[in-house]
Symmetry: C5
Subunit: 322 residues, 5 copies
Amino acid sequence: MLINCVAYVDGRKLADIPVVDISDYVARDDAFVWVALRDASPGELKVMQEEFGLHELAVEDAGRGQQRPKIEEYGDSLFIVVKMLELREGEELHVGEVDIFVGPNYVLSNRSNSTQDFLGVRARAEREPHLLQQGAGFVLYALMDAVVDRYFPIIDALEMELEKIEERIFIHGSQRDNIERLYDLKRKVMQVRHAVVPLLEAIGKLHGGRVPSVCRNTQEYFRDVHDHLLRISTALDTMRETIGTAIQVNLSMVALEEGEVNKRLAAWAAIFAVLTAFAGIWGMNFKHMPELDWRFGYPAALTLMAVVCGSLYRRFKKAGWL
Amino acid sequence: MLINCVAYVDGRKLADIPVVDISDYVARDDAFVWVALRDASPGELKVMQEEFGLHELAVEDAGRGQQRPKIEEYGDSLFIVVKMLELREGEELHVGEVDIFVGPNYVLSNRSNSTQDFLGVRARAEREPHLLQQGAGFVLYALMDAVVDRYFPIIDALEMELEKIEERIFIHGSQRDNIERLYDLKRKVMQVRHAVVPLLEAIGKLHGGRVPSVCRNTQEYFRDVHDHLLRISTALDTMRETIGTAIQVNLSMVALEEGEVNKRLAAWAAIFAVLTAFAGIWGMNFKHMPELDWRFGYPAALTLMAVVCGSLYRRFKKAGWL
Amino acid sequence: MLINCVAYVDGRKLADIPVVDISDYVARDDAFVWVALRDASPGELKVMQEEFGLHELAVEDAGRGQQRPKIEEYGDSLFIVVKMLELREGEELHVGEVDIFVGPNYVLSNRSNSTQDFLGVRARAEREPHLLQQGAGFVLYALMDAVVDRYFPIIDALEMELEKIEERIFIHGSQRDNIERLYDLKRKVMQVRHAVVPLLEAIGKLHGGRVPSVCRNTQEYFRDVHDHLLRISTALDTMRETIGTAIQVNLSMVALEEGEVNKRLAAWAAIFAVLTAFAGIWGMNFKHMPELDWRFGYPAALTLMAVVCGSLYRRFKKAGWL
Amino acid sequence: MLINCVAYVDGRKLADIPVVDISDYVARDDAFVWVALRDASPGELKVMQEEFGLHELAVEDAGRGQQRPKIEEYGDSLFIVVKMLELREGEELHVGEVDIFVGPNYVLSNRSNSTQDFLGVRARAEREPHLLQQGAGFVLYALMDAVVDRYFPIIDALEMELEKIEERIFIHGSQRDNIERLYDLKRKVMQVRHAVVPLLEAIGKLHGGRVPSVCRNTQEYFRDVHDHLLRISTALDTMRETIGTAIQVNLSMVALEEGEVNKRLAAWAAIFAVLTAFAGIWGMNFKHMPELDWRFGYPAALTLMAVVCGSLYRRFKKAGWL
Amino acid sequence: MLINCVAYVDGRKLADIPVVDISDYVARDDAFVWVALRDASPGELKVMQEEFGLHELAVEDAGRGQQRPKIEEYGDSLFIVVKMLELREGEELHVGEVDIFVGPNYVLSNRSNSTQDFLGVRARAEREPHLLQQGAGFVLYALMDAVVDRYFPIIDALEMELEKIEERIFIHGSQRDNIERLYDLKRKVMQVRHAVVPLLEAIGKLHGGRVPSVCRNTQEYFRDVHDHLLRISTALDTMRETIGTAIQVNLSMVALEEGEVNKRLAAWAAIFAVLTAFAGIWGMNFKHMPELDWRFGYPAALTLMAVVCGSLYRRFKKAGWL
């Protein structure tokens, strides 16, 4: 679906142009064309391929979707795949994709499976013509910056979830719940990593060293995006390691709690075993058991049992078993 | 076994040629020879070695089979080993191999231990002569692309198996089954990795940097295959890590379940120990135990026992032990 | 908040200058300006940006805070982010930040969220004019050296905590406490790593190889800071690995202690089960049980029970179960 | 001990020569000397050092033995250390060593602690003079190829052992045996790794990039050996990872089996506790317990007990506890 | 404390010289000065700094001690820090340090916290003047070689300790002891690694590639030391991995032993529960229990009990539970 198709001259909007005129504007040295698509159909991509002269393999990738984040050079143009992440209701992580084609004087973006749009990016760019004048590289930066900035709240949400689990990690009886949540969190961290790490590697090629010509005068901006991604990736690595440790610690806690239950079991079993043993002894049928005939034999026996069991109880209590 | 032996001129099929004529066509500048073998015998390989002038070590490797995936340069020709993967009935993973010799104007492939053929690749190539005109590099790309594309359904099957296990990972009583399936899945992931990772490294040398001359004008195609392999390898790494975590989590679940059984054991043991202790006390043979002579002593005793055990039962139920 | 704003000539303090004069002094070849801010407001940063001609992206980063430690080149000036660490009361680790802008003849530092100041650095520098004469690179070194030197006591405190845990790791009954402390320590080690590792990488670019011009004649000093950071990072890696091992060992200890409790339980259960079985036998109601009629049957039975249980007790004691 | 000392001209054996003549033949441009030693004494090494003009440090290393596999350049000659592996009876892994000195027109090998000889290598080389004509590099290749080819059956034996363990990993009651065998296998894998990994690194320098002059025209052969070592090293890495997983899985199996024993214990304990409780109740001495006076009270009681215990048994059986 | 201060000419000892004359000899082209200190005071270091013209930062590091092993270039001189390891009585690992300053014609070493001296190195060097003639680089090699050679017996001792633990790893009841020893061994391995790994990296810069001028003609000697360190570091890595596996295996053994105790407990509990249940049944007070009146009822009952318990015992014995 076409969202915008605008030609700019000198950083200022010239007009919304029809798709068929794109190639004319792209051919002009002074013009700059910026097209935004959403969930483009194969047909729409085909038209764009012809108007912009895009490389067949890049268009094929864009058509298929489900690419890894990447930045590929085709001659003097670039093909970029970036993942868009959303935490939807029920805390499920949703992964969309933007495919961006960048040439010397055009930018074509196609957003799939995502509710996040880039209208704000275009509006800001149109408000500040001196920025747009910097050309395609700057628009690419603005789009990527917008995508990457939306990663931060997701990282924050994951870190908050981890902190919540950590608060409960040493609490009795929460081990089963914790392990389920840790496993689920781990899965989300891995999903976000898939969006971040390949992009981090790819974007490293847009600053320092040999840089594709369209991005040459915006290197410092891309270094900034790179730096944001580095921060995110460090946070993810830390979460990954912390989750690993937490899973191990959780296992120790399970074992510790089981040990405590065993101790309690042992203690009560001992108390009742003593009781039963005493009762068994006085239940024997020997003829000559003088205490059985005593007037207060029975209360005395009950008292003795109570005293012995009580002292055992106190002892176990003291040892922390009960 | 010889499958095809065809000479092409200008991207169009000239004729099926006899094996002994191969060297004549290879010697011609304008011709291009494409030969396909299946489970070639040493004798067949020997003939091919002579006709194409292949390097002794490459032919030796092809004859022995069971090579690692690799791409080796011998002068201006290449020797490529790629693994073919099939998930056969009973979910067993079957590993075959294609050995490909590529020279400036020939391609020779030998497929072993695999039911997957490349007839479709040849048919498509013959339908589009402008592709075949790009020469040996393009045919090599088409073959490798066909092999790598067949990796995706296998990855999907493995991921689906992992998801199935994950759905059952927190379910009571499935731990033994899960651990067996995780171990089996891990083994398959490792097998696929052996097919993918060395190939990934090798194919990295066919685009960017110094590229063998036969592949020079098809670099972007090989980058595409490389990108597919990268996606597969990332998926494998994720599965590997997830399986590791799942095994750890499974151990925690085993310990948790054991703990629950212990608690239930402790609870029932306590209830019956109490019952037995009471019975033991009233089974003692003291002369003076007034309650024994009461009219309703027995029913009262049974009631008391029932009340005590019932309240213990409720308490344990509440604590989640029963 | 402005703390100091001083101009120097030939390594000697010229005067405290007003902020608006900064650009005049920076324009002079012979002058050197050193400004220190604390928790600067966006307005203050804006003024500094204009006076020093700082790069927009660097100022943005400084304004936002929470950056990774890094060293970025903008033309012939540098933007440096360094973390300041403090162990506050209650052993909580507090993380502050210094942002430093360095140009050919100026240094501007902005410290946030930290109680540690750099007055000592300035005082020492002013006492030794020959050092200040080395210019901006030396001041940068002095500031970074001051920050990094303050990492050492924190590492020492963490190592001491680890040693304390290690002393208790094989002691009965301290497993729960140990695992909590290990987890907490691990978290602190990770936090310190986040301050150290990126800085280590960044500072590696200030000596050897291509070095930014402001730091060129102080390379050996930066190598020294680099070396300190390497030592810290090695210590952190060791702690990380040791904590991992300690967590594993702790799990073994939990299992061992549980095993000991189980053994003790088994032993006492055996003793009382024997007692109860004997009592049960002589409690049977058979008519002809000659021992029941013996004069000393009862004491003999008690003695037998005591002997059997006593010998069991000794045996278990010897086996280390009791 | 000297085994062979032969001079070759034009790839053909000239004569067995005495040791003292070696230096004369080495000085001739057209001759090639190939000497084989076994467990050479310091004295023999000394003589060889003088005849061939070997470097002191290399001879020292060869004398000491127990080196890491390595390839060192000394001017235009090479010093190579390779490990020889044998699986001797009782499945113990035995590690021997060959030290090879290679110069432009000589090869000197010294084999220690190994029963494997290289007579076959020399015989084959002498049968095919055109190979020997390729000079010292080819002989070095032939020796290394012979050593590395003997690694394969060892890898196969280790993999077979691993498969045997894997077949038993989920079988009841084999956990103790499995863990011992896994640990032992791990040790062997590590030993083989020590022979393989450093050699892999070293041999990488004999093909591609800057290659020592003696090996320059046999690069493709060394790439072949390198490829064999890569295959072995991949197999070792897989085994290492698989053993690690198997040890973890084994722990889970131990815990699972223990859990099953616990469940069975709980079940039988419950059945007998119920039996004992019933018996205890009818063993109480209350005056008025009407059922005790019934004609068929006793058989009825036994029947009730049998019914209750039987239904418990069925229930536990169904739950898989018994 | 000054140990030696000697000037050499042409590899031969000229004289013990007073400290104040050092600078005169260092200024001479033909002389070579070799000074050895032990636990030098700041004052002594100050004097040396002046006499040799050492770099301030290097002297500072030497004065502070507790450096990482490293090799730093200051102009055409080197500053080297190497750790000295000793296994003192009680098997405690003691870590000392040697700081070495090397210039074109001088070597200054300062040994701290160590009982190991270098008198043998100097003696050997003085006996063989042709070695000393090679200059400062050779002396540096000789010192480092002496230090590194003393690492080997420590590695041997650690490996022997590991082997001792391994022998006991599958033995009943040694798990607690093993885990303590493994943890302690791990700590020592980490300490030795700290001495070895940074040195390994540093010494890699003294051969191959760009080498500091003082070491240029002794590269092969440093490669030899490098090779020794590689061997040590491989041994340490193997130990580290083996200890990790052993800790895991130990946990499995703990679980296995616990399982065995549980089984034994279950078995004995079952036997006595059966006994008690029988006794309980015949202890019931039913009027009509014909067997109670039999002449040989009691002995028959005891016999029945013995038979049942005996057969249970045999069964458990067979199952390996007892």
